[in-house]
């Protein structure tokens, strides 16, 4: 059976900033007494997605991967959407559309398919969306494997 993966894309205003090793050192601000106000706000903005992550993670079996991904993590994100989509036999045209929408604001991607974007749904609703998408993805995989088996 094909593996399933849920990708939760961080909203744009909550993504980490970093290119250049100095930039990555911003993490040291978190443990001191004088966290930069801009960085503090950025971390506060990450909390709603954190809640969604925890509910979705707790609501799904452990073998289904759930990942939070920064939209700027192109190195991982774009190949992952293509890989997941192909694994679940998404047509190339739909895959291309998902590839473009995959970096959407607070997008939720299930098996390479963008199932929510533009706003972060409440945690329970997000879990419902993900479950429904996983069901349809599993059904699609079953149908396709039956076809290829014939």
């Amino acid at each position: 059976m094909a593996r399933h993966r849920v990708l939760l894309i961080r909203p744009w205003d909550a993504t980490g900033a970093g290119s250049g090793c100095c930039t990555g050192a911003a993490g040291i601000c978190v443990e001191g007494r004088h966290e930069d106000p801009a960085l503090a706000r950025q971390r506060a903005d990450q909390r709603p997605l954190g809640e969604v992550y925890q509910v979705v993670r707790a609501g799904l079996p452990a073998e289904i991967a759930v990942e939070i991904v920064d939209p700027r993590n192109t190195l991982f994100l774009l190949p992952a959407i293509v890989r997941d989509g192909r694994r679940h036999r998404r047509p190339w045209r739909a895959l291309l559309r998902d590839l473009v929408r995959g970096t959407g604001y607070a997008a939720i991607i299930v098996d390479g398919r963008v199932v929510s974007e533009s706003r972060l749904p409440p945690a329970e609703q997000a879990l419902h969306i993900v479950r429904r998408a996983l069901d349809s993805s599993a059904a699609l995989s079953r149908r396709n494997s039956h076809r290829s088996g014939r």
Partner: protein, 606 residues
């Protein structure tokens, strides 16, 4: 020798290093355990602590450590010949950077994912936290100074880059605003941003902007100094803006640029089959800095960089899904940085000149080598780009924009971080008013690097930049030394063989103190009364670090196996509680202290 042969050989060595040496480190030195419950699971909050797939985490980690520094250092270091520079990059990456980045990640994971500064206080001594803050203060001062000079030099040398660089700022803000307000996908707008940037490169190439006349009118001896002042004014303002407004969209555009630049380097080398024209060992002129210790100071990022320990322990360790993933994320991240340094070496030895004589003209002295390093890199990349059918002049502006964009992003954050460090140090010495005054702390954060960047001497680049770069490398290596000392003490406490950590630690401390002594003598002889005290202070910090490291290692060697301080009830606690020690292997069980300390604790294994 064809450059492609060198590229393949180095990549093969990196692969062997990853395959065998990192496995040795994982199994024998750091004792990674796939069943260990990492802080990402134990403290999972969906914000800082998120168990993350190793490939996702590698992407985050690598984009956080990759920047302009691994380009500049190697571009200077080939002054001693491409052989020594390449050897230090390769062996430094395999035996020092890999050990350091991987180790910082491993030790942080075993200590509630705390950063290396906090760990220094826990593992070495309380004083080490102050030492850490002081080293970081000087490191950031020098980072901001050298990158201001790098950008200033490039804007003078490539006036075609002025329009794209300065229009990129409102462009990035516009893209950020568009994505933020419309909540649309970031990919297409940022690709449009990259395309717009390349259009601006074409425009900038047609309409270069030189400010020599303005600088003369204002009484500046060097045009670069006016750029430096403009850059610090910009960095001060940018560091007060919300991160999402400018820094993030520009980062996003930069990350695309990084991939394009790497592709241009390696595809250009492959298509053009350029040959390395630089000598393997360069017969440097008398009076030049000697290869020992200065090669190992000149190339910091790209061989080993203390900044990586801040990234590894600051953010990456909080997201590590399995402890064994530290090998892939930490060690392979170091190899990625080494590959950037390799690209830089290839650009300035194969791309920048067609003949040996031409190359020797560019690297005739250390001052010319250091002052011209980024220009040589830019011209080298441009030469590779011509192999792919891009016009040379246009390609130089493209490459200059890549380097400037990275350096400018680093400056934005560097000033922001420096303000934070100023506030922390002010708090430490009891200057409450300063510690709570953002603007004043921000002004102090730019005062020191601005002064250094405006130091006279050496024409448009030359002496001053070369010296500042060496001081930056020295301080960066000291940060790495501090991290390696923390790692070594931790390894020793776990009754594992620390030689793989102690060898790079001793090597770095010897090279940095040696370099600081030589430079101090030079500065005093040359009446450099800004640089001499700076060098002396960094030297004192180096001695302090050596004393702390020796004392901590002696204490650790005399101790029985200790539980790691990762057992507290939560990430922000003082760590007094003991709710879960790290798992013990058979050798540790024989000693027994670790398991004894964990009596009544929760099981940290899965």
């Amino acid at each position: 020798m064809p450059a492609i042969v060198v590229v393949i050989a180095v990549m093969a060595m990196f692969a062997l290093g990853y395959r065998y040496y990192s496995r040795y480190l994982a199994d024998r030195v750091y004792g990674l355990d796939p069943a260990y419950v990492t802080p990402a699971h134990r403290f999972a909050d969906g914000v800082d602590f998120v168990p993350t797939n190793k490939h996702v985490l590698f992407g985050h980690h690598f984009t956080s450590i990759a920047g302009a520094a691994p380009i500049v250092g190697p571009a200077i270091a080939v002054f001693w010949g491409w052989g020594p520079a390449l050897a230090w990059v390769v062996f430094g990456t395999i035996f020092a950077a890999g050990v350091h980045d991987f180790g910082a990640l491993a030790v942080s994971v075993r200590h509630r994912a705390r950063n290396i500064g906090t760990l220094a206080a826990d593992v070495i001594s309380k004083r080490a936290r102050t030492l850490f803050l002081l080293i970081i203060f000087f490191l950031l001062t020098l980072v901001n100074a050298v990158f201001a000079v790098v950008i200033g030099n490039l804007l003078v040398a490539y006036p075609g880059a002025v329009i794209p660089i300065f229009v990129e700022i409102p462009l990035a803000i516009a893209i950020g605003q568009y994505i933020y307000r419309t909540r649309s996908a970031a990919l297409v707008p940022s690709l449009i941003g990259v395309a717009a940037l390349y259009f601006l490169i074409w425009v900038g190439n047609l309409y270069p902007i030189e400010i020599t006349g303005l600088a003369d009118t204002l009484g500046f001896e060097r045009t670069r100094d006016l750029w430096v002042i403009i850059l610090f004014v910009y960095a001060f303002i940018a560091s007060r803006l919300p991160v999402w407004l400018l820094l993030q969209p520009r980062d996003y555009i930069n990350s695309h640029q990084l991939f394009i630049a790497i592709a241009v380097i390696f595809a250009g080398v492959l298509v053009g089959m350029d040959r390395i024209v630089a000598p393997m060992f360069n017969d440097v002129p008398a009076g030049s800095p000697s290869i020992f210790p200065f090669l190992f100071i000149t190339v910091a990022c790209g061989a080993i960089s203390g900044f990586h320990s801040l990234v590894a322990s600051g953010t990456t360790s909080k997201q590590l899904d399995k402890e064994t993933d530290a090998r892939y994320v930490g060690y392979a991240g170091a190899i990625g940085e080494g590959s950037l340094a390799l690209g830089s070496i290839i650009a300035v030895t194969a791309g920048v000149a067609a003949t040996r004589a031409e190359w020797e003209g560019l690297y005739a002295s250390y001052a010319e080598a250091s002052g011209g390093a980024t220009r040589n890199f830019v011209n080298g990349i441009a030469s590779f780009a011509t192999n792919l059918g891009i016009e040379f002049q246009l390609a130089t502006v493209f490459a200059a924009v890549v380097v400037i964009s990275f350096a400018a992003t680093t400056m934005d954050t560097g000033v922001r971080l420096q303000r934070y460090i100023v506030q922390e140090i002010a708090e430490l010495v009891g200057w409450r008013r300063l510690s709570r005054h953002l603007t004043l702390a921000g002004l102090l954060a730019i005062a020191a690097p601005l002064t250094l960047a405006l130091l006279p001497g050496g024409g448009d680049a030359g002496y001053t930049f070369g010296v500042l770069w060496r001081l930056f490398g020295t301080t960066n290596q000291l940060t790495a030394g501090l991290a390696l000392a923390v790692i070594a003490v931790w390894v020793l406490r776990r009754r594992r063989n620390p030689v793989a950590v102690i060898v790079p630690l001793v090597f770095l401390l010897v090279m940095t103190t040696w370099a600081l002594i030589v430079q101090l003598r030079e500065f005093v002889a040359a009446d450099e009364w800004v640089l001499a005290p700076l060098d002396a202070i960094i030297f004192v910090l180096a001695l302090w670090l050596i004393v702390e490291a020796v004392l901590a290692l002696r204490r650790a060697s005399g101790q029985s196996v200790e539980p790691d301080a990762d057992a507290g009830p939560g990430p922000d606690s003082s760590g007094a509680g003991a709710t879960g020690p790290e798992p013990v292997d058979k050798s540790q069980q024989a000693v027994g202290a670790e398991s004894a300390a964990g009596a009544g604790a929760t099981d940290d294994r899965r």
